[in-house]
C-alpha cells in the first residue's frame, strides 16, 4: 500500500493582535464541500486547526458545525448518500485519499458525542473497548493500567475506582459523559473532537467537563462544537463562526468576542439573530 500523497500544510498563523503561543497546523482543510444527497451542507470551507489548542465552532442550529466536525474523522461516511469534495489533511496526509485507512484515522482522531453513549457494558469494559479492538496492550496488567490512567485523565477515577465492574449505565449523566471522554482518551488519540459535550449536563457537571478540556489541551488538539458562546469564550483559544454552511470567520477567541472582523459575527454574538 502506497502512502497518501504528502500535502504541504500552510504554516499556522494566528491573528497578530492576539497573544497566542506559536503552533504547527494539525489539520488543514481546503475548499471543503459536503453534500447530503443533493443538499449542499458545507460550502468551500478552508480552515487550519493548530495542534495543542482548543478551537471552538459556534453558529446557529443547522449551520453545519457538527457536519464539519464529523468530516474530520470521516464519521459522515456511515450516513448513506453523503459526498465530500475538497481536501482535509492531517499531519500533511489527505484523510479522504483512496489509500487512507479510515480505521487508523479514527484511532488518531477521537470523538465525544453530544449525547453520552456508553456501551451497555461495565465501566472497565467501556474504557477498555478501544484498547482491545486496536490491540494496544499486550498484558492484562497493562490494560488495567491504561484504563486507570484514562479514567484519571478524565477526572472520573476517584468516583468509579471501587465499582469498575458495575454497569456504565448506572452512572449519572455527567459521569457518563466523562466516561465517554475517558474511553476516547484511552487509545491516546492526537485529536479529540467534541460535539456539544456538555449540552445535556447540569452546571456543575458542565464546569467539570470544561476544566477537563482546558487541562487536556496540553497534550491534545481539541475541537469543540458548542451552542453556548460563554462556553466557547471560557474554554477555547480560537473560535470559528459558521453560518448557513459557510465559514464566516476564524479568530482568536478573545478578539472574536470583543472585536470581530466580520459584521455577521458581531451581529450573531450580540444576539441580533440566531
Amino acid at each position: 500500500m502506497s502512502t497518501p500523497r504528502q500535502i504541504i500544510t500552510p504554516k499556522f498563523e494566528v491573528n497578530r493582535r492576539a497573544a497566542l503561543p506559536p503552533r504547527e497546523t494539525k489539520i488543514a482543510v481546503e475548499e471543503l464541500n459536503f453534500f447530503y444527497g443533493r443538499t449542499q451542507a458545507l460550502h468551500k470551507i478552508t480552515l487550519n486547526i493548530p495542534e495543542r489548542m482548543v478551537m471552538a465552532f459556534i453558529g446557529p442550529s443547522g449551520c453545519g458545525k457538527t457536519t464539519f466536525l464529523r468530516t474530520l474523522n470521516r464519521m459522515n461516511d456511515v450516513i448513506p448518500g453523503t459526498r465530500v469534495e475538497g481536501m482535509v489533511a492531517m499531519d500533511g496526509q489527505d484523510i479522504y485519499a483512496p489509500v487512507a485507512d479510515v480505521v487508523e484515522l479514527r484511532r488518531k482522531v477521537g470523538m465525544v458525542f453530544q449525547k453520552s453513549n456508553p456501551f451497555p457494558k461495565s465501566i472497565f469494559d467501556n474504557v477498555a473497548y478501544g484498547l482491545r479492538i486496536n490491540q494496544l496492550t499486550s498484558s492484562k496488567s497493562e490494560l488495567e493500567d491504561r484504563v486507570a490512567a484514562a479514567l484519571q485523565d478524565a477526572a472520573l477515577w476517584s468516583e468509579v475506582k471501587d465499582r469498575l465492574k458495575s454497569s456504565a449505565l448506572g452512572l449519572s449523566g455527567g459521569q457518563q459523559q466523562r466516561l465517554c471522554i475517558a474511553r476516547a482518551l484511552a487509545i491516546r488519540p492526537e485529536v479529540i473532537l467534541m460535539d456539544e459535550p456538555a449540552s445535556a449536563l447540569d452546571p456543575i457537571a458542565t464546569s467539570k467537563i470544561e476544566e477537563l478540556i482546558v487541562d487536556l489541551k496540553k497534550q491534545y488538539t481539541i475541537v469543540i462544537v458548542t451552542h453556548n458562546m460563554q462556553q466557547a469564550a471560557r474554554v477555547s483559544d480560537l473560535t470559528a463562526f459558521f453560518l448557513l454552511g459557510k465559514l464566516i470567520e476564524v479568530n482568536a477567541t478573545e478578539l472574536m468576542f470583543t472585536a470581530p472582523d466580520e459584521k455577521l459575527t458581531e451581529d450573531y454574538i450580540t444576539g441580533r439573530f440566531g
Partner: protein
C-alpha cells in the same frame, strides 16, 4: 376504559388459567416417575413417555442448532447490512415463510428429505422444525437490533472499530436479551408442533439410538394416544400434555434467567 381493558385482560388470562388447570387436573392422575422414564408398552401394561421426552429434546436441539444461527444471521443481515432491493425481497420472503402452515413445511421436508433418504428420520424432523424457527428468529432479531441506538454504533466506530466488530461486539450484545426472547418464542412455538413431525420424524416406540432413524416426540405421542380408542392411552395423553407444558414453561423460565439484564 380502565375497567374495560382490565376486564378483557381478566377474560384472556382466565381462559388460559382454565386450560392449564384442566390439563393439570386430567393429567396428574397418570403421572408418576415410571411414566416419565419408561418407554411405551402395549395397552394394559402401563408404560411411559421417557423415549418421547428424550426424542423431543433431541429434535429441539437439532432444530435450534440449525435454525437459531441461520435466523440470527439473517436478522443481523437485514438490519445492519441490508437496505437495497435484495433485502426487501428477503424480508418479504421471511414474512411469507412465517405464515406458511406447519403441515406444508412437513410435506415439503417429506418431499425433499424423507423421499430422498427413503426413510423417516430425526434429521428430517429437526430440519422441518428449524424451517419454522428461522423466520421467527430472523424477524425478532432484526427488530431488536434496530432498537439499538445509532449512537452506540457511532461510539464504537469512532474508536476505530471496523464495522464487523461493531456488530459483533457492541450491537449484538446490546440486543442480546431481545434476540434470546425471539429464540425463546421460536423454541416455544416449535416444541408444540405436531404436524411437521408426522411424516418427517414419524414417531417411535423406542428410545432413540441414532439420528438417522425415526424418533419419538411428545407431540406426536400425544396425537397418537389421543386418537386411540383406549382409556388408558387417553389418560397417558393428558399426562404427556401436562409434561410438555411444564417443560415449555421450564425452558421459558430458564432462558429468562440466563438472559436477564446484567447491564
Amino acid at each position: 376504559m380502565t375497567t374495560l381493558t382490565a376486564l378483557c385482560t381478566l377474560v384472556a388470562i382466565g381462559i388460559l388459567a382454565i386450560i392449564l388447570g384442566y390439563i393439570a387436573m386430567r393429567g396428574i392422575g397418570a403421572l408418576n416417575l415410571r411414566f416419565l422414564v419408561d418407554s411405551p408398552r402395549p395397552v394394559g401394561e402401563g408404560g411411559g413417555i421417557g423415549n418421547a421426552i428424550v426424542g423431543s429434546a433431541v429434535l429441539l436441539l437439532l432444530s435450534c442448532a440449525v435454525g437459531i444461527p441461520l435466523g440470527i444471521a439473517t436478522g443481523v443481515y437485514l438490519s445492519e447490512f441490508g437496505g437495497g432491493m435484495f433485502s426487501s425481497v428477503v424480508r418479504f420472503l421471511v414474512d411469507t415463510l412465517t405464515g406458511i402452515p406447519s403441515i406444508v413445511t412437513g410435506v415439503f421436508i417429506y418431499a425433499v428429505v424423507v423421499l430422498r433418504m427413503k426413510h423417516f428420520s430425526a434429521f428430517a424432523g429437526g430440519i422441518a422444525l428449524a424451517l419454522i424457527m428461522i423466520p421467527i428468529v430472523a424477524r425478532t432479531t432484526e427488530e431488536m437490533i434496530k432498537l439499538v441506538p445509532h449512537s452506540l454504533r457511532e461510539g464504537a466506530l469512532a474508536l476505530g472499530a471496523p464495522q464487523w466488530r461493531v456488530t459483533l461486539g457492541v450491537v449484538i450484545p446490546a440486543a442480546a436479551s431481545g434476540i434470546a426472547t425471539g429464540a425463546m418464542l421460536a423454541i416455544a412455538r416449535v416444541s408444540g408442533e405436531t404436524a411437521p413431525l408426522l411424516f418427517t420424524a414419524f414417531g417411535s416406540r423406542f428410545f432413540p439410538r441414532n439420528l438417522n432413524e425415526p424418533i419419538a416426540s411428545l407431540t406426536v405421542q400425544i396425537y397418537n394416544y389421543a386418537i386411540s380408542p383406549y382409556d388408558e392411552w387417553h389418560a397417558q395423553a393428558w399426562a404427556a400434555t401436562l409434561v410438555l407444558m411444564t417443560l415449555i414453561l421450564g425452558i421459558n423460565i430458564l432462558v429468562r434467567f440466563l438472559t436477564r439484564k446484567k447491564f
